[in-house]
């Protein structure tokens, strides 16, 4: 069955460093992958989408890579700030419905940036 794995242990880093979060998947051949941010007690917020034919995508201090051979995506936050502290979820397209695919989410990795 399809499986998405994200590190369940929180990632602790110092302010100003680069945070790198990993999303691994098995039994998938996704056409794209999405990353979301979730703050405590709030719904996830979409950050970035990367397609299978894109090796890398950037948005401000965020960078996502997608290696379909390794079946892995890396999510980087450069010059991290305490405000970046949150849980980050990766999502892959699951079953199809109504012309789109229902995202299936990993459990997320908590990032804690220390001042």
């Amino acid at each position: 069955s399809q499986k998405i794995e994200q590190n369940s242990e929180a990632l602790n880093i110092q302010e100003g460093k680069t945070a790198t979060l990993t999303c691994n998947y098995t039994n998938y051949s996704p056409a794209y992958l999405q990353w979301y941010r979730q703050d405590p007690g709030r719904g996830p917020v979409f950050l970035l989408l990367i397609r299978e034919n894109e090796k890398e995508k950037r948005k401000e201090r965020l960078k996502v890579t997608f290696d379909t051979t390794l079946k892995q995506s890396l999510f980087h936050i450069t010059a991290s700030q305490p405000a970046d502290s949150a849980t980050y979820l990766c999502a892959l397209p699951g079953s199809a419905s109504g012309g789109s695919y229902i995202p299936t989410f990993g459990r997320g990795t908590s990032l804690i940036v220390h001042p």
Binding site: Q34, L89, S100
Partner: protein
Amino acid sequence: SQTIHQWPATLVQPVGSPLSLECTVEGTSNPNLYWYRQAAGRGLQLLFYSVGIGQISSEVPQNLSASRPQDRQFILSSKKLLLSDSGFYLCAGTIGGYNSPLHFGNGTRLTVT
């Protein structure tokens, strides 16, 4: 841009009581709508999705049901809550397109006592 409204933000209900959580969408029409549940330390579990009025698909057999009486309204219900129904319930929507991101509401924290 679309906005997903959910209420209430928190809810404490006794076992055996009914439940009704409402989700409304603003800023778009004909969205695909979803109900997810997130247990503490767990991932997002898809409960129901809907591609149109009156069209509901259930992903997991539950003590729950969903309805979509209007294009921009999605309701999650239960006739009798169980302790295991406690969790964080999230409504989400997308305007379609195969890779459209989901827009989430801010969720309802349900505690069944």
